[in-house]
């Protein structure tokens, strides 16, 4: 036959979405917050972020090539870069470089590649790296440098989260008076890890992801709403608990809700499942923050719910076409 035709099954067209578009889309969404963190923390932030991203990409390349011995390299699909960015956002800007590299090795090596690489991991790799570092190097991980724009003099090193926990431990609501206003926290004038500072820019990036249909609203909205309601109730019952807006804009809550909990691989597939997952993360975060050993509960809450994701997927099915009718008929 002179002119052979290609034969394949339908559909014969594709919507041109790709893994790269989604991964780099999230990276773009993180850009404003990234630039802000460079402004707030200076050269230290640049070093941490560069180290983290380069180390993640390097370990993904090395493991794929030398341990898994795969021909197809995956470092350009954007997922390792994204893991590096998210890990960097979760670190203080003065962290020693060797600790960052160790964190990247754990994130990519243990968190991702042991399970088989992209799409196979149970836990969010960046969070796995952060939690590993937090447990292994608690001192270095929680000593923050001054935010150059910080107005809360004399409290350098004590983040809003630490203050909130202190207020609960000492049963003294006046400690909370040292908190920056929720507006300051919203704009980014506070202490913390690099990605924990500007809620505004992170939310802007989240809006971009929603617009580009990279994520749906279910996970971020359910987490933030749950925290608002739960923290608000606690605040009403007892003023030693901080006001809900301060709770939402402090620590890594926005970063976690919009960028970490929404990680495709480790979050549930159905909208119903995503809502359950989001509400559970919100509840766990407030519980760990208020009554746990660590001032920040977001990472632990997400990691715990990552583990529940397969279970949620088994029991939460999307609403089938015609299901409503079937149920009505059964009545």
């Amino acid at each position: 036959m002179e002119n052979k035709l290609i034969v394949s099954l339908s559909p014969h067209v594709h919507g041109s979405d790709s893994v790269e578009k989604n991964m780099y889309g999230v990276c773009i969404a993180l850009l404003p917050a990234l630039i802000a963190s460079f402004c707030f923390f200076g050269l230290g932030a640049v070093t941490v972020m560069l180290t983290s991203v380069l180390a993640c990409v390097f370990f993904e390349w090395a493991i794929t090539k030398f341990i898994l011995k795969r021909d197809k390299l995956t470092i350009l699909d954007g997922s390792a870069i994204l893991t590096g960015l998210l890990l960097g956002f979760n670190l203080p800007s003065n962290l020693p470089i060797w600790i960052i590299i160790l964190g990247a090795l754990f994130a990519i090596g243990v968190g991702k590649m042991t399970f088989g690489g992209l799409g196979q991991n149970i836990f969010n790799p960046a969070l796995a790296g952060r939690v590993f570092l937090l447990i292994s190097f608690p001192v270095q991980m929680t000593s923050w440098t001054d935010n150059v724009l910080d107005h809360v003099d004399g409290y350098s090193g004590a983040t809003p989260l630490a203050l909130m926990q202190k207020a609960i431990l000492e049963k003294d609501p006046s400690v909370l008076n040292n908190l920056p206003s929720s507006l300051d926290m919203f704009l980014g004038q506070t202490e913390g890890s690099m990605g924990e500072v500007s809620a505004l820019l992170l939310l802007l990036g989240c809006a971009f992801m929603l617009w580009k249909k990279i994520i749906t609203w279910h996970i971020p909205v359910s987490i933030i709403l749950t925290v608002f309601v739960f923290a608000g109730l606690l605040h009403l019952l007892d003023p030693v608990y901080a006001a809900p807006l301060q709770v939402i804009f402090s620590g890594g809550l926005i970063l976690g809700a919009c960028y970490m909990a929404t990680d495709y691989v480790t979050s549930p597939m159905s909208h119903k499942g995503q809502l359950i997952y989001g509400v559970a993360i919100g509840l766990l975060t407030v519980v760990i923050r208020n009554w746990g050993a660590y001032p920040e509960g977001m990472s632990f809450a997400i990691i715990i719910m990552n583990a529940f994701t397969p279970l949620i997927n088994t029991y939460c099915k999307p609403k089938r076409f015609g299901e409503v009718v079937r149920k009505e008929a059964a009545k």
């Binding site: 035709l5 290609i6 559909p11």
Partner: protein
Amino acid sequence: MKTFHIGGVHPEENKLSAGSPIREAKLPRQAVFSMFQHIGAPANPVVKRGDQVKVGTLLGEAGGFVSAPIYSSVSGKVSKVDVALDASGLRRMAVTVDVEGDEWEEGIDRTDTLVRLADRPELDGKTIVEKIKQAGIVGMGGATFPTHVKLCPPPGKKAECVIVNAVECEPYLTADHRLMLEKPEEILVGLQLVMKAVGVEKGYIGIENNKPDAIALMAEKANQYPGIEVVPLKVKYPQGGEKQLIDAVIGRQVPAPPALPIDTGAIVQNVGTCFAIYEAVMKNKPLIERIITVTGKSLSLPSNLKARLGTPFQQLIDECGGLPEDTGKVIGGGPMMGKALMSLDVPMTKGSSGLLVMKKDEARRSEPQPCIRCAKCVGACPMGLEPYLLAKVSEQFDWDAAEQNDITSCIECGSCQFTCPSHRTLLDHIRLGKSTVMGIIRSRSAK
């Protein structure tokens, strides 16, 4: 504006031929009539080699109740009654006719005069269904289910309304669109005939709002036809799916199989089918020709052709500028659900709604990447299924899991694969799983 309620995607429309009026294709030199032009039992040939036939002569009689007769669309001499390659890629029983002249059987009204229902007061439901059955009419949207079967609801089920499927949600295809612009009243009379056949007072015509000219024209003409309403629909694929269309137009959802669309009280007929019904009942013309869109970005003359059944696809493409050099794939039907053709030397059939030529670079599939569990397929599935899961369990031959997760509800619309960022071949695997599970269910109920 109304639409269906679960999932859906927005493929590029590419309606290249929307502005080109229907033109008549040339008569073929040889026409091949497959006996497998519909779902159900194949037709049985009733002619033999050497027989003279005319346009409208019966070539094959229906092989059962769920089947349809096949008529000759040309006049000439039967040269072969043997297996021949058809669009499915299989060699199956067909009748080949060498064309001589263009002689028609007596009694077929070939004029353009509109015959209204009021002109034929003697017609009753039973006669209409019988006429449709005799004319060999099948669903012309592509499903090719024999129409008379749909018009005879099983005992205990009652039709409440008729919905005309004028959605044409497949990209590129414009055959139904053009037919509505050029034969609006014939379609309306056809709908009236269906309504009379099943004894209902209410008829809807569902049209997507990317065809505003058709909506306006049909709505204007429908004013004179009591009980018929044009329903504009928001553009979303796969709105032309029978279940999705019923959901969009009357807001009722067909339950999972074995339930049928008739359980919602709706009977859905394609625009082309309505026109064929009009011609069969009012003009005494069996189903021997149809409108087919011949299109593609590389084709020099994308067109809507009125062509005789049995015409080889090669000839239709030649009439639209010939097959371009860099062609990679030719699809029978639209790009979302059509079948890729192995050869162009196969005849068009009752279900051929389109012929789409794709360039080599459009035709290639991308290399699949690992599933990143983004859930976009779950969001796109119009049946509320989990395509990633169905594909995975089918790949693992876990038929129990496939059945438990409702694989048989899949309508094979391709939305999941269309939307998958990892370019995974989801539907390939799901098709395998679905057909295997249906086989298991059949053998279980046979015991």
